[in-house]
Each structure stands twice: as structure tokens, then as C-alpha cells.
Subunit: 295 residues, 2 copies
């Protein structure tokens, strides 16, 4: 048996189309165009490229984008000043500070300075807190975890009552995706570097989320037959057969895993595109709330 | 084999003695007496009794206590007004609103109105958020979960790398104790009413925390030999052999479980007394922080 591929690019495109229709509707009914502001500190080429691709998607779905760039030696006060201005700007509904910021800056204080209603990355402590509470929900949740849930829903994978195993406990992915799965009534296990028998834990998973960044650590024989496997890790491994000398792989060894899993994300083209799609949707949602147009 | 009993009354007493010594030291070095304010809305006898017992413990360890009582028909604004006064009162270092409050009140808004630095119940969304983040810690964490960890530490039960299973996902116990166990590097599984095979999940646990409130649901054959079992649930079951006609039991069937477990809390006399002890320690900690006397 070969797993069904969870196609991030195609699914993201569907979400872009849906988002564009909602953006158009919001403009017509409320006269509001959603706006996303990115804050980039320093000139890291990878970060610049991420920011550019987000702006490109904004244009595609009709979201206005605002790009703020600060030099690599910007002070904490300068960054927080920019965040404060964006908080106060009614045309900006979502604020994304591209991480990582240079080491001399306090990234936690920057995240906490963002207005919770504009926190489209879902990383403000209050949004994290609401996500970690039964019966509550955050104004906005982190994009990569949302993309994982969206994949399961779009491909008809049940969550309720299933055993979900999350490998990795980062603030960006592991912990929030565990909380989202818990809200959807999965039985959730959080594993990490100190987990004694990781293979055994993975073998229990009906839904397996891998988010540690260790190349191809999870192999086919760690996977329960029929499981849904969501690979969030991203690593480069040397590959002399490629012109650029490397290839991008996930935490899951795709070739062996796809023979066992029921559903699996490719890398690249899996959870990555979904993350950007969820950012667009979070920005739309923030604008709808600000306009009093939430369903 | 019979399990070692995790004695809540004796352990709490040790913590009271330690706390009293630290309270005395804070008064001598900084001229500050820790203060705990309780807010009781309505005259529920059980709540009155809980509040009284907390004040009694305060007196025992040298913490000044402030009792505010409001009628059962107090408005949201009146309750938040009282919380605001206590936030502003420099003699008050901890504020505890006795839950549950009457149905017409918004308990979440009340909890969010408490100054995060005085949030000795650890239920403010910001403290919940910090608890749910890797590399962060809340100013104050919830008392019952803290009591569970304290038990394990005082009795020398390893946490790191162990399989911990938490049954129940309440905001008061289940989710925060899972987060505390995760911070201590346990592999953590959160189970609940939708978990397919709860017995099987419990059997994996080196550390089992039961917090659902279903009388004696977890029996001896659900427990891994040698496990540490922390019972937080509390129920009344009819018992004609008792003069009052009932007895208090936990979520764990103590008689069968103690033959299998390595460590087990009794009910009553287990996690309950530890909760009050942690409240005293949280109040001390809040006063130490306010006085600039944190270690």
C-alpha cells in the first residue's frame, strides 16, 4: 500500500482561492481591505526570501502588505517602536515579526508587544494561554499547527478519539499543535529528545506530527500502518547527485514511510505551503474581527 | 508489594515549617509580611470552609490574610472592583478568588483581572501561556499541579524521561500538570473522556495523574507495577457503614492500586493538603518578588 500524499501546494491554492473570495466580500460589505505588516530586522537572505514570498501571496489574495525593515543593529526600543506604530495603524490587521531576530534582541518581549488582536503568528503569551485552556480559544493560533489540522480536515482524517503523537515540543509547532489536537479530542502524547523509546511512541500514533528538525529520523518501521504523518521538520542533507549539492528532507524518511502510512506530507511541498496559507487566513480573520464581520 | 504512601498531611506540614522560616526571614531582611487576599462571592458552605482553612494556614505560617466577601448577587463590576482594589493594595501579594463563582458572573474575566504578579492560583491567561511555552516559566503556577510535582520530588521519584499519563484535561489540574511534567522532561500523554482505551494508556504510565472526578475509575490492573500514582479526583460515594452515610474517594481504587503501584497518594490526605501548602508557598514567592527578594 502506498500512502495518499497530502499535497500542500494544491491544498494551499484552494485556500488562497477561498481566502480571496472572502477578502473581496469583506471589502464589498465593510469597505475594509485586510492588511499584513511584516517586520524584518537585519538582512538575512533566507528571512528576506520568506518575507518576499508572504508579500507575494498577500498580493495574490488581495491582502495589502506593509514591509518594515530595520538594520541588524536596531535596538530593542526601535523594534518595539515599530511594533507600536503598527499596533496603532488601523490599516494593519496582522503583524508578523520575522524570526529569528538578531541575538541582542529580546524576541519574547517583541512578541508580547504585538497587539493580541493582530498576532497572526499566534505567539503572544495571551494567545498561547488561551490555546492551552479547555473551553477557550485563542484569537489567533500559530500557522504551522493550524496547517496540520487543516490538512487532516481537508483529507477527511478523523481526529476525535485518535492517538496523536507529537515529536518535538517547540513553541512554534510542537506544543501548539498538541493543544489544537487536544481541542479536537485526540489523545495526545508529547515526545522530545528525552523520550526513552521514541520509536515505540511513534508506533502508537494514528496521527504523527514530526517537528524536530532531524533529517529522516523517523523511518517506515516507526509508523503505524494507515497513520496520517505530518512532517514539519526541515533539513538539508548533502546530495552530490543534485546540481546544488544538497536536497531538502523532513524528519520523516519519506520513501520508507509512504509504504506504511495512510496519509503523508511530502517535503518540500507539504506543511510549508500550508503555513503560508494559514497566515493569509489569520490575517483575513483578524481583519474580519476588526471590522465586526466575524461569523 | 505495597506502595509507599505519599503522605500529604505530613509533607504539607514540612512545607509549612519551611515556609514559616522563609516568611520570618523576609520580614527581618525586608520588613515585608506576605499577604493573601481571598475573595468569596456568595455563602456556599463548602467554599466558606475552604476559605477559612486557607486563612488558618496563613496564620500558622505568618502570612497576613485578607478576607473579602460579596453577596451571591454581586455584579461583575463589583467583583472586578474588589479585585482592582486588591491589585492596588501593596500589603496584598496574592489574590485568590474562590471558585466556583455564581453562574451570572464571568469567571474568566475575573481571573484575567487579577494582577499576574498576584495570581497565586496561576490561572491568569498570561501565566497559563508562559507555562505552556518551552524555555519560559510562569510567575506563578497552579497549586494542585505544583503539589503533584512537589510530591514526586520530595519522595525521590524521577520525572525526566519517564512516561507520564495525565487523565483529565481541566484548566485547573490536567493541562497545567501536563505542562509542568513536560518542563521536567517527562514524555507526557493527555487522556480524557474521548480516549479510546484509557486502561491501556494508564498501563504505560510511570507517573499517573488522575484528575477527572469519577469515583474509583482507575483500578489496580490499570497500573504499571512500580508506578507513582497521584490522585486528584474527589468524589463522595454512599457508604452505609459510615455514620455520615458516605465516604470520600478519589479517581483511583486505592485498595487494589496500592498493591501494584510503587507510590500512591491516599484520598483524603494526599494531594489536597499539598494544594494548600503550595498556595502558601506561592504567596511567599509573590511577596519575595514584590520585595525584590527572589533568589
Amino acid at each position: 500500500m502506498t500512502a495518499q500524499i497530502l499535497d500542500g501546494r494544491a491544498t494551499a491554492q484552494v485556500i488562497y482561492d477561498e481566502t480571496k473570495a472572502e477578502v473581496d466580500a469583506l471589502r464589498e460589505t465593510h469597505g475594509v481591505t485586510p492588511g499584513l505588516a511584516t517586520v524584518l530586522v537585519g538582512g538575512d537572505p533566507a528571512s528576506q526570501s520568506y518575507v518576499r514570498s508572504k508579500h507575494k501571496r498577500c498580493a495574490e489574495v488581495g491582502i495589502r502588505s506593509f514591509g518594515r525593515e530595520l538594520p541588524a543593529d536596531a535596538t530593542q526600543a526601535e523594534v518595539e517602536q515599530v511594533v507600536g506604530e503598527l499596533n496603532a495603524n488601523p490599516d494593519v490587521h496582522g503583524i508578523l515579526v520575522q524570526m529569528p531576530v538578531p541575538d541582542h534582541l529580546d524576541d519574547e518581549a517583541i512578541l508580547a508587544a504585538i497587539d493580541v488582536e493582530k498576532d497572526v503568528d499566534g505567539l503572544h503569551p495571551v494567545n498561547v494561554g488561551l490555546l492551552a485552556m479547555k473551553g477557550r480559544e485563542p484569537l489567533l493560533a500559530p500557522c504551522t499547527p493550524l496547517g496540520c489540522i487543516e490538512f487532516l480536515d481537508r483529507y477527511g482524517v478523523d481526529i476525535e478519539g485518535q492517538e496523536a503523537v507529537v515529536v518535538g515540543r517547540s513553541n512554534l509547532v510542537g506544543i501548539p499543535v498538541a493543544m489544537l489536537l487536544l481541542h479536537r479530542n485526540a489523545t495526545v502524547t508529547l515526545c522530545h529528545s528525552r523520550t526513552r523509546d521514541l520509536a515505540e511512541a511513534c508506533r502508537r500514533a494514528d496521527i504523527l506530527v514530526a517537528a524536530v528538525g532531524r533529517a529522516e529520523m523517523i523511518q517506515g518501521d516507526w509508523i503505524k500502518p494507515g497513520a496520517a504523518v505530518l512532517d514539519v521538520g526541515i533539513s538539508r542533507v548533502e546530495d552530490p547527485s543534485r546540481k546544488r549539492g544538497y536536497r531538502i528532507v523532513g524528519d520523516v524518511e519519506f520513501e520508507t514511510a509512504k509504504e506504511v502510512a495512510g496519509y503523508i506530507t511530502p517535503m518540500p511541498g507539504g506543511t510549508g505551503p500550508m503555513t503560508v496559507a494559514m497566515l493569509m487566513r489569520n490575517t483575513l480573520k483578524a481583519a474580519q474581527r476588526a471590522a465586526g464581520a466575524m461569523e
